[in-house]
């Protein structure tokens, strides 16, 4: 049979979760200057050579990697059952941190000297199952583009994540996903989140929806209010006629305010303040100009 792939090296995957992982990464301190990361590592079960070097690297959520910290040579690390390191990482938030552990050894490629990676683990963040507060609105409301008539709509269905559908060809998805337009963001999300909560409180088909539960848990985290205290109905029947419950309507408004208008960015600036500033700055100058 023809060989279509070349196996460059035999590598057992370096694990960071599951039973007896090779690595364990936790955040031991977080303040306004950054975080302190503790890394426990044991690579004995791997067949790396004694002279290979092991490094720990931090990335931010935009993919900018810090200079890797050298943890030591394999022969040094393999002397201990568990090696524990602590690294202060400045100017990064806990929820934005990603990591990489690399094992490298010097070699040659044609006439060039190289330092080849022979083992690697990409760790997407802290594995902290108890901390759901870092869950973002966006992860519960993915965006997609379709050919719709209006600029946006919410597409919902029981036991499926709601989608924020954006009109194709209008560049709205780009503006929202890149977080580059606070005006569109605040207007669209205010309307979308209001619509989602209204649907969850009105339509009986969502009673057991798993995403309704996730949304309500997130709202509870943000507002500090227990889910048990949330209103249960948006509308009621009064004398055979449908009536909107004003208390519930007010509650939805206050939740939307917390989830959208008061949503802080990484510098603590609220979305509504960015909206104000953007409107103030772009008041009447609306033309395209050439950058030089």
């Amino acid at each position: 049979m023809a060989q279509t792939t070349i196996e460059i090296f035999e590598e057992k995957r370096i694990t960071y979760k599951g039973k007896d992982p090779d690595l364990n990464i936790s955040c031991v301190k977080e303040d306004e200057t950054g975080i302190v990361v503790e890394v426990k590592i044991n690579l004995r079960r791997h067949n790396f050579g004694d002279n290979c070097d092991v490094f720990f690297q931090t990335y931010d959520n935009r993919g900018a990697g810090n200079k890797p910290n050298k943890m030591g040579k394999i022969k040094e690390l393999n002397q201990e059952e568990k090696n524990v390191f602590q690294y202060p990482i400045s100017n990064i938030k806990k929820e934005d941190a990603k990591f990489r552990v690399i094992v490298s050894e010097p070699g040659n490629f044609k006439d060039s000297k190289v330092i080849r990676l022979i083992g690697k683990a990409e760790i997407p963040g802290f594995d902290d199952e108890n901390d759901k507060s870092k869950q973002k609105i966006n992860s519960l409301l993915p965006t997609k583009e379709l050919d719709i008539g209006t600029p946006f709509m919410v597409d919902m269905s029981p036991n499926r994540l709601p989608y924020l559908v954006l009109k194709r060809g209008c560049n709205i998805k780009y503006k929202l996903d890149s977080n580059s337009d606070p005006v569109q963001k605040s207007l669209i999300y205010t309307s979308a989140i209001r619509a989602i909560i209204e649907a969850y409180l009105t339509d009986h088909r969502y009673e057991d929806c798993i995403y309704k539960k996730q949304w309500f848990d997130l709202i509870s985290k943000k507002t500090g209010e227990s889910v048990d205290e949330f209103p249960s109905n948006y509308v009621s029947i009064d004398d055979g006629k449908t009536v909107i419950e004003s208390n519930c309507k007010n509650w939805i408004e206050s939740v939307t305010e917390t989830m959208v208008s008061n949503l802080p960015d990484s510098n603590g600036k609220k979305l509504i303040d960015k909206h104000k500033e953007a409107n103030f700055r772009n008041n009447e100058i609306t033309y395209s100009e050439e950058e030089g």
Partner: protein
């Protein structure tokens, strides 16, 4: 004058004044020399000096307007005068950068400038446009890349160059500063003290022979191709520990004419 930062009110006043200047320039068909009138210049000077609209940030350095219009020297100068301040406190400090923008307004809002986009003078909080600021970006580039920033800051204080534009948005370059040294080695013509032309864009539009159509064509050995290769090498080599000459040697044939022999 010592370095200051605007108060909230001062920052708002700067935004308003900039808007007035921009409107005036537009009324003169984008002619900065005519639109940035003596009266507006006077207002800018008053805003900078008004002690009620800005506060001293506690440094010892007396600022001065550079005599040269070199963006590289300007970045170097700003880097020097801000060295005594805590980087974390100045990095995204909009009121500081905007006050500096107002202080240096005459050299960054120059009659020869080709664009008057507000992002050049008012610090944006979007990372897509933040780097266009004509005071912060020269500072940032020099602080991170030192002498190699000459490649990206070639030109005048009121100019946003192509090499910089193509470079700064790529995340690998943010901390892997060796990348800038490699780019400087490859693309800076040391003999003529200027960037080599034709390599700043990864793609160019080329006319199809015998047709009016243009096609997007990859530029071999361009800065964008270098960034592609560095991203690839980062997955298979420990480039952080490798010497920059070793990395340059790895680059494929398309870079041969750029390598020093």
């Amino acid at each position: 004058m010592k370095i200051r930062e605007f108060t909230e009110e001062g920052n708002q006043q700067f935004h308003l004044l900039y808007k007035r200047i921009k409107e005036s320039v537009l009324n003169y068909n984008k002619d900065i020399e005519k639109g940035y009138t003596p009266n507006l210049k006077k207002k800018m000077k008053e805003l900078v000096a008004d002690p009620n609209l800005s506060i001293d940030i506690g440094g010892t350095v007396e600022l001065k307007i550079p005599s040269s219009d070199s963006q590289f020297l300007f970045g170097k100068y700003i880097d020097e005068v801000l060295k005594e301040h805590n980087e974390l406190k100045i990095f995204n400090n909009e009121k500081l950068w905007n006050w500096l923008s107002a202080y240096f307004f005459d050299i960054i809002f120059h009659k020869k400038a080709k664009g008057i986009s507000e992002h050049r003078y008012l610090l944006s909080d979007s990372w897509f446009t933040k780097y266009r600021h004509l005071v912060r970006t020269p500072w940032y580039m020099h602080k991170i890349y030192n002498e190699s920033s000459k490649l990206f800051l070639h030109g005048a204080t009121y100019f946003g160059g192509n090499y910089m534009e193509q470079w700064i948005s790529h995340r690998i370059n943010e901390k892997f500063t060796k990348a800038a040294d490699i780019a400087f080695d490859l693309y800076y013509d040391k003999k003529n003290d200027e960037p080599k032309s034709g390599y700043s864009h990864k793609f160019i539009s080329k006319k199809v022979t015998g047709s009016k159509k243009k096609v997007k064509t990859l530029v071999p050995g361009s800065l964008g191709r270098l960034i592609d290769k560095l991203n690839q090498y980062n997955e298979i080599y420990n480039i952080w520990e490798m010497d920059r000459k070793e990395i340059i040697q790895l680059l494929p044939k398309e870079f041969d004419e750029l390598k020093e022999h």
